[in-house]
């Protein structure tokens, strides 16, 4: 089996799992409890907070709020910031290629009377900074641009975007789910006000996310309850997943440079190999892209059948932006936003690497891709 879908889920790092396991088995108390077992759980959460803060160079651990997932963090960031700052204005801007967990809360706000604008991207998926600058109004409160796109791998010019956003006194929210642990992130240097992180995308267990909220950034809760996490995300903390996320963040900070150099080398060879196929094209930016990420489109064949063929005959798992794997039957909004025609967007394949991949995968995947494309084209009427 060759697993090439790390942008969708990363297998939990055995070290993070071993570290976190004790908070299920032995130190299982509620961190809000005042007896020793509860205090120990509380300590695990605080230790994780410090580790996550360190990964993104946050000012203090107190800037990190734990949530249940990146989706929850994105909702808290977009809704919570727009609602808390509505006295300034009811205008928000998001890039056209954001994840649905940013787009949908933004659309929801639009239904509630907020003015929503979409920042276009160029053919590589890079946000249009001129458009951003020209469309930022004094009423704009929050702008959301992800660090890197999980479908085409493009890394955005975050520092430049932050400078523009701050010029108009707005906040910049950055979804770093795909980027964290793969490229260095420094929220202070980058000028990021809110940053979304996902535990399982770092190699922790599922069930934990985090939102960095910079000093002085005003956010209101979107889920009132018992007041955990400074009242911003109520609910008993998932200590196991949080501790695992913290350990995964620590490992990522320590090993990212070497591991990503290794994965990038494999990725580059993979791209070279796949692009020998006739009428195959790289999508996303050729240089400004995540080191573990390759995405392609193939003319005259459809993405889901490529995915199915690779899985069934070769045991290779990839992703696709094909409409046929979504519920809407619309092709990926990301591929349409970078200017692909509908018929082009249907033939997309996304390969995202992780620790389990090695150079030995390259010829295997190359051969499998060639055979797959040849087989499907032989039965295509196009």
């Amino acid at each position: 089996m060759v697993y090439l879908d790390h942008a969708s889920s990363v297998p939990v790092d055995p070290r993070a799992l071993a570290f976190a396991g004790r908070y299920l088995k032995e130190e299982y108390a509620n961190p809000s409890s005042l007896y020793a077992l509860g205090l120990s759980a509380k300590q695990a959460v605080e230790e994780a907070r410090a580790r996550v803060a360190a990964l993104v160079h946050a000012e203090t651990p107190s800037t990190i709020v734990f949530t249940g997932s990146a989706t929850e963090s994105n909702n808290l960031a977009v809704r919570g910031t727009a609602l808390r700052n509505r006295k300034k204005g009811k205008s928000i801007l998001v890039s056209a290629i954001e994840h649905v967990s940013v787009l949908n809360p933004a659309r929801d706000l639009q239904k509630q009377g907020f003015d929503l604008g979409f920042v276009p991207v160029d053919r590589y998926g890079v946000v249009d900074l001129v458009f951003l600058e020209e469309n930022l109004a004094p009423e704009t409160t929050v702008v959301s641009v992800h660090y890197a796109n999980d479908e085409i791998g493009t890394v955005e010019p975050i520092r430049e975007a932050a400078a523009i956003v701050h010029e108009k006194g707005a906040y910049l929210h950055v979804n770093a789910t795909a980027a964290a642990g793969r490229i260095p992130i420094d929220v202070q240097e980058d000028g990021i006000d809110l940053l979304t992180l996902s535990g399982n995308d770092l190699g922790g267990p599922r069930g934990a996310g985090a939102l960095y909220i910079g000093p002085g950034v005003k956010v209101q809760t979107v889920m009132p309850g018992g007041g955990q996490e400074k009242g911003l995300r109520s609910g008993t903390e998932n200590v196991f997943a949080i501790a695992g996320m913290g350990e995964a963040a620590r490992i990522a900070a320590m090993e990212m440079e070497d591991e990503m150099a290794r994965e990038k080398a494999i990725r580059d060879r993979l791209i070279e190999e796949v692009l020998t196929i006739e009428e195959s094209y790289l999508t996303g930016h050729p240089d400004f892209r995540l080191p573990n990420h390759a995405s392609f489109r193939f003319s005259r064949i459809e993405g889901e059948s490529i995915l199915l063929n690779l899985d069934t005959f070769f045991g290779i798992q990839v992703a696709t932006g094909s409409a046929c794997t979504s519920r809407t039957l619309e092709p990926s909004h990301v591929l349409i936003a970078i200017g692909l025609k509908h018929e082009e967007a249907h033939g997309s394949v996304v390969m995202s690497l992780g620790r389990s991949n090695s150079t030995e995968d390259v010829p295997l995947v190359g051969r499998a891709m060639k055979e797959t494309v040849m087989r499907l084209r032989s039965i295509s009427p196009l």
């Binding site: 889901e304 046929c324 039957l329 025609k341 295509s380 009427p381």
Partner: protein, 140 residues
């Protein structure tokens, strides 16, 4: 193939995806039906040879997802050897049923195979009528 779920497809869909029957083009076909659109991600083409109003040879080509390939393969199996009047009665639902079901999201777009078959039969009939007219015309 390992016995595990695949995008909610039945074993029969997967079997037809892996070993599609009757792939290609019937040479000098008596009727050709093409439906769908690459813009929508699905394009089906069915070609038939007809003798005494019975489909004796049928082939398909498909641009589309796994279930598009499977439905096209299945419809060729269902129509082969049938009288064209009977073949015209094959519905999208019949094809889906024969494949032991399709995921609901796939019913609309990828299950165009029956339509392609119907178009091929209509094309055959139109050509036959055309031939008749061509023969009859000089006598007028």
């Amino acid at each position: 193939m390992e016995d595990r779920p695949q995008i909610g497809y039945s074993k029969k869909v997967m079997e037809h995806f892996m070993n599609p029957r009757n792939v290609g083009d019937v040479e000098n076909a008596d009727g050709i039906g093409t439906v769908g659109n690459p813009v929508c991600g699905d394009l089906m083409q069915v070609s038939i040879r007809v003798e005494n109003d019975v489909i004796t040879e049928i082939k398909f080509k498909t641009f589309g997802c796994g279930s598009a390939i499977a439905t096209a393969s299945m419809v060729t199996e269902m129509a082969k050897g049938k009288h064209i009047d009977e073949a015209l009665k094959i519905t999208r639902q019949d094809v889906a049923d024969e494949l032991e079901g399709l995921p609901p999201v796939k019913m609309h777009c990828s299950n165009l195979a029956a339509d392609a078959l119907h178009e091929a039969i209509k094309d055959y009939r139109a050509k036959r009528e055309g031939k008749k007219e061509a023969i009859e015309e000089p006598a007028r």
